[in-house]
Symmetry: C2
Subunit: 225 residues, 2 copies
DNA sequence: TTCGACAAAATCGTTGACGATCTTTCCAGC
DNA sequence: GCTGGAAAGATCGTCAACGATTTTGTCGAA
């Protein structure tokens, strides 16, 4: 009944890949599946289009937007500079409580990696980035990054699986947290930029064998027409 | 009749400040003023909300979002790093034709400044930034920057009026164009970042005496309730 | 068999009306 | 004169139905 919750559910379904890329989003079907009126579906699709998660064509309906590898790289580059800015600002205004929170997240990620649970580590990874964003207090950067991140969640789960990325990721995150906690803005920004540009480069090397699309295709509706 | 044109008209009205910040956007009134159905107004408002140009509250309607000085600074900072990225990429893939276009825009801006036409120079300024963005070929950065710029257009017209900013702006743009045209990515990014951070700092210094809001208040509906 | 035209189905965009919710106004009581 | 509350007005959110457009499927001819 609460349309807001339904909207979040739909958004989650797309972001997490439960609805495959290029799958058609028929207004009536979505309404039935998520228990919302057609009008509500309409507004949801418009919002999601603006967020870059779906594409709508006149009289042809909406489809889940397929993020190409090329575009994923662009998004990671944009995130690199924006999160770099956030890291800088976080380093400028860091306090003891915040530094402690960052170190705690980093420690958890280290434990998960040593335990070999890469998927959980990937979640912890996202957590760390979110915490840093929050500490930066940069509302505009936060908003942009959140929007960008949601478009590449399906990639996130994979990049850490690439050979060598797990260890590198931990190393890079450690550098970021240290710089921020120590209040060194230039260093924090550089570390964050380097980290995300490395991720972008990993994607660029076609290090995702076969691509993400085959892997997640057909989860719900079996892909495109 | 063409809802798309009406949408652009409404958007323009907000971006250019013909509709004052905090002014209420009653769906019926907007529909009458821009000749569009209430449903079309609804979708337009949802899109504009997602773009950050209006805010909508349940059962209370939409209002033009007021961009505070603080937020304008944040936006300029975000633009600084994103346009820095774009400048870097433009420098990496610059060709003779593109370099020539950049130099032409710069020359025009110089002429306008020497002629003392600051407002026209401000437009040329925006033109130069847009050209650089186009040359970068970075679709994601383009999209983000366009969205950010539209939120601060009212500020744009003012910053160049500040004492010393006109000359500084020309100097900074010259550095950017030279670095891009010469194909030096690091330098291009640094120059662009420096330029926009300088603008941000100019705003930060409260160098907009009395703020922009009094100046543009009451243009249409006399401000907020 | 393949191609093109035509009809049928599916889906979206729009309209008008109705109920829900918020804001404002007005009046009684202190 | 001021405060509290109730009624009126304004506006938004939702729903059902209709028209418009695209897509699909069928049929006949080359």
């Amino acid at each position: 009944m609460p349309t807001d919750a339904s909207f979040e559910a739909l958004r989650e379904a797309i972001v997490r890949g439960y609805i495959a890329p290029d799958a058609r989003l028929v207004e009536a079907d979505i309404g039935a599946a998520f228990d919302m009126s057609r009008g509500a579906v309409r507004t949801a699709l418009i919002r999601l289009e603006q967020e870059g998660l779906v594409v709508r064509e006149p009289h042809r309906g909406a489809r889940v937007r397929r993020v190409t590898d090329e575009e994923a790289i662009e998004i990671l580059q944009a995130r690199a500079v924006l999160e770099g800015l956030a890291a800088r600002q976080a380093a400028e205004r860091i306090e003891d409580a915040g530094a402690e929170r960052l170190r705690a997240r980093l420690a958890r990620q280290r434990e998960l990696l040593e335990a070999g649970d890469l998927l959980a580590a990937s979640d912890a990874n996202a957590d760390l980035h979110a915490t840093l964003l929050e500490l930066s207090g940069h509302a505009t950067a936060c908003r942009l990054i959140r929007s960008l991140s949601s478009q590449t969640v399906r990639y996130q789960y994979r990049t850490i699986l690439l050979p060598g990325r797990a260890a590198a990721s931990l190393r890079e995150h450690t550098a970021i947290v240290e710089a921020v906690a120590a209040g060194r803005p230039d260093e924090a920004e550089a570390a964050m930029r380097a980290h995300l540009f490395n991720v972008a480069r990993a994607v660029q090397r076609r290090a995702l064998p076969g691509g993400i699309d085959q892997a997640s295709r057909g989860v719900l509706e079996g892909g495109a027409r």
